[in-house]
Amino acid sequence: MDALLSPSLGTMVWASIAFIIVLIILRRAAWGPILKGLKEREESIAESLNEAEKARQDIADLKSDNEKLLQEARVERDNILKEARELKDSMIADAKNQAKEEAEKMVNSAREAIETEKAAALADLKEHVAMLSLEIAEKVVRQSLSSDDSQKALVDKLLQETDLN
């Protein structure tokens, strides 16, 4: 009983000395490196996780950038196509107009040429009529010499023959 309840001084001396020595040795050789190692590992893990999160964010950003770029490209393409279509339409319209103008010009010049030809033909015809008149007159004059009636008949006949157009 006594041995249980009264602490032995010798045991206390040994316990104190041994405990201090163990504490000093373990502090230097064990707890220091262990706690430092644990902390470093935890920090590196936390850092890695942060980096992974950042990389994920970066990739997400990149993805959204790509999406935006793609969207822009699509809009650009649509614009280009629209412009091209407009250009085509305008070119066709231009060509049509030009062709129309050209055609009008050609018709006009043809009409002018026709007018000129007509005038020339009329002048020619007039000359012909004059020549014919002269010839008729000549023939009339020649027939008048035979009879009056025949002369008159001749003139009519000749006039009828001569188509004035």
Binding site: S6, S8, G10, T11, W14, F19, V22, G32, R41, S44
Partner: protein, 384 residues
């Protein structure tokens, strides 16, 4: 005769019941023992004595046999170191030839003799008394007479303690090396086994009690204390090793508690001492009541640490030994009854061993946690 056996049985029952409630068990077993002494015959098995003998510190590691009963005793002798009037004397405890009644005298030179009386090393009397004992004691009242040598022996508990410390240094040095050698890599082997415990002490004990910043300062002490207590507790549960009861030895737990007290006192800041010397927020007359209470408190805290650990670990040993005693007591009545009770007792002992494994960890944890809380208390900054 039968009545005495029944009375012994009740003693053991009381012991078990008391041990279940941990702390009071030491006292209960003591009073039971004294009561049994007067009535029981000499040869009869004394459960109380047997149990106390096994959990008390000793100058040798007793393995088996019993010298007093005439059964050849096998024990590992340990060095006895004495600071006497004539300087330091040293011899092996085997010189006492297993005697602890003061009968065997050991010559330590200069005409001085010492005897082993109930594991106390005392100067021998010149003449033997009626029992053949040279122990300088008064047989009526049992006090030791005269100046005695200062016993610096490597006792069973000291030996066990040194063994555990050696193991701790070897184990944790290699673990520490693993952290420097394989920095930043996943832990392996021993490192892997101990890391959860180290992290447990750091993250569940030190940081919640002290805060992350101050935890680093106290962690080496807390880790050392935790692993020391835990491993000592476990060593005490190893059978056939002489039943070490290191953390049930007051000398050891007192030193541990003293370290807690010293560290708390040294690290106590203005806030801590302010609360003790001039408790704030109470009327003046109350202050004069509180100050002595606070002063008792700073000593009481480590004392409670010491008693809790000692009593819990001793109680566990008492429990298991009580079941062993049950078998012996019934075995003395009849061999058949002894075997019959033995079956039940062994079942209970197995249960107790598992419980003690838990208690071994729990008590180490509780001691460390409370030490951390006291440190936290002492270093807490004013926040109100």
């Amino acid at each position: 005769m039968n009545l005495h056996k029944i009375s012994s049985f009740f003693q053991v029952l009381i012991l078990v019941a008391a041990a279940m409630f941990m702390a009071p068990s030491v006292l209960a077993s003591g009073s039971g023992e004294g009561h049994g002494d007067d009535h029981a015959e000499k040869a009869e098995f004394q459960a109380g004595e047997y149990i106390i003998h096994h959990i008390a510190d000793s100058h040798s590691i007793h393995l088996f046999g019993d010298h007093a009963e005439g059964i050849p005793e096998v024990s590992i002798p340990l060095p006895v170191i004495l600071w006497t009037d004539n300087g330091l004397k040293m011899f092996m405890s085997s010189a006492f030839h297993h005697d602890d009644q003061g009968i065997e005298r050991v010559d330590i030179g200069d005409g001085q003799y010492v005897v082993n009386y109930h594991d106390k090393i005392l100067y021998a009397n010149a003449e033997a008394d009626a029992h053949g004992s040279y122990a300088p004691i008064d047989h009526d009242t049992h006090p030791v007479i005269g100046a005695q040598p200062f016993d610096l022996s490597i006792t069973k508990s000291v030996f066990g303690m040194l063994m555990i410390m050696l193991i701790m240094i070897l184990v944790f040095r290699s673990v520490g090396k693993a952290y420097t050698k394989r920095a930043g890599q996943a832990p392996t082997g021993l490192q892997n086994a101990l890391e959860p415990l180290i992290l447990f002490i750091r993250d569940e004990v030190a940081i919640p009690s002290l805060g992350a910043k101050k935890a680093d300062r106290f962690l080496p002490f807390l880790l050392t204390v935790f692993f020391f207590i835990w491993m000592c507790n476990l060593l005490g549960l190893v059978p056939f090793l002489g039943g070490f009861n290191i953390t049930g030895t007051l000398g050891v737990t007192l030193v541990l508690a003293a370290f807690v007290f010293i560290i708390t006192t040294i690290n106590g800041n203005k806030h801590y001492w302010g609360h003790i010397l001039w408790p704030p927020g109470v009327p003046l007359p109350i202050k004069f009541i509180l100050i002595p209470i606070e002063f008792v408190g700073i000593l009481l805290k480590p004392t409670v640490l010491m008693i809790r650990l000692t009593a819990n670990i001793s109680a566990g040993h008492i429990d298991i030994l009580a079941f062993v005693s049950l078998v012996v007591i019934f075995g003395q009545t009849s061999t058949g009854l002894g075997f019959g009770v033995g079956v039940g007792a062994v079942a209970f002992m197995v249960f107790m061993f598992f419980l003690e494994l838990l208690v071994a960890f729990l008590q180490a944890y509780v001691f460390t946690l409370l030490a951390a809380l006291y440190f936290g208390d002492a270093t807490q900054e004013a926040h109100h």
